[in-house]
Point group: C2
Chain length 228, copies 2
């Protein structure tokens, strides 16, 4: 038998891996709300697994900062506090800035073209006031820059921290003012990218992150008493 192009290996997934992915999604999209006790027994029944793999998954999510464990008391979904937001965003800003610099060095023409399309799509969604479409295009742009940076470690770190903040973005409905501002920042982003100006792109992405932070902090502050 001659296998010139070897087929990709059959990827197998252990139960706990699958559970990590599922639970992460549930936390990020708000199905499991911040502050909520993780219902171990419930989840076991729902996913039809025993406690062993579920608990393994919870340990991993705890290391990621999405849940916290209290010995002998169980697991809770982490709250999104002001102080956490104020800690995570600067770190995310530094990492996105790096991703911008690296992307300018390594991006390929087809990738750049795809990003330009996503950008135009995003502008279109904004003009039609289509928030879902906007979010999706926005997501794709950031993912595209990150992947163009050619640094898997950076991807992993960014995604882990983003996941922790994502929950807020789902709930925090963007204000019209912030939306206008974000769109204008994105014009700068695509411009810097097309000019391959890494330094500038890094700065803009950092600023972009900082503004997101402010917008979320504002929302958190406004909803503080509501939640409590």
């Amino acid at each position: 038998m001659n296998l010139t192009q070897s087929p990709e290996p059959i990827s197998r997934r252990s139960l706990h891996e699958e559970l990590v992915a599922r639970l992460r999604t549930m936390i990020v999209d708000g199905t499991m709300a911040p502050g909520m006790k993780v219902p171990e027994k419930d989840l076991c029944e729902r996913f039809a697994v025993s406690r062993t793999p579920l608990r393994e998954a919870l340990k991993v999510l705890a290391a990621d900062g999405l849940v916290y464990l209290e010995p002998n008391r169980g697991a809770w979904v982490t709250e999104l506090t002001e102080s956490e937001v104020s800690e995570v965003f600067p770190v995310l800003g530094a990492l996105e800035a790096l991703s911008g610099e690296l992307a300018c060095e390594n991006i390929m023409d087809e990738e750049l073209a795809a990003l330009r399309q996503h950008h135009d799509q995003m502008i279109l969604s904004y003009k039609e006031q289509d928030l879902d479409g906007y979010f999706q295009a926005n997501q794709r742009i950031h993912a595209g820059i990150l992947s163009a940076a050619r640094n898997e470690t950076l991807v992993v770190q960014c995604e882990a921290l983003s996941a922790r903040m994502q929950r807020a973005r789902y709930v925090a409905n963007i204000s019209e003012d912030r939306w206008v501002e974000a769109v204008s920042e994105h014009e700068e982003i695509i411009a810097a990218l097309e000019a391959k100006d890494g330094k500038a792109l890094g700065e803009i992405l950092k600023k972009h992150m900082y503004n997101k932070q402010l917008s979320i902090l504002k929302w958190l502050d406004a909803n503080r008493e509501t939640a409590a």
Copy 2:
């Protein structure tokens, strides 16, 4: 009863937490060498625990990138490859740069004084060619800057990535040339810190990291055939 200053909660540790800490140490200090299969049964006997908590710990270490898991085949200590080093150091550089900037904003006088002492101690160790003392002082300086940044998330991220690189630092014996260079960089670091020049400190720390990367890559390259 009036508890004006509430006592700190009694901290308890589950077995798996303890195991994560112990195994991490064993991997970082080289007791478990890169590339080695993790001897599950052995470790269980050695620590006198069952497989359940040990395996939970391995999942966490895998999420940290210190081991990798192959389904149905077990766990291995991750190798330190050129590509991993080339990925992790830039990320670490960006994070250390951030820590420098934040430290300049937030450091207190006593902390600065302590760092100056560690620095002087480090110079002394260098003059006496005391590598252990030098490493220790060096470690304390970086930890001190990080803690002065007042950002727990940043600390966690830096420590996780540092742990992955630390193994190399243990094995890679610093060259005399690199040592001279590192000492001179540290003079710049303490100067920027005392001048509270965040931008400059960030730049130097980033450069410092980059030079460490080069030095480790050189070592890896020289030892490539030895290890294989």
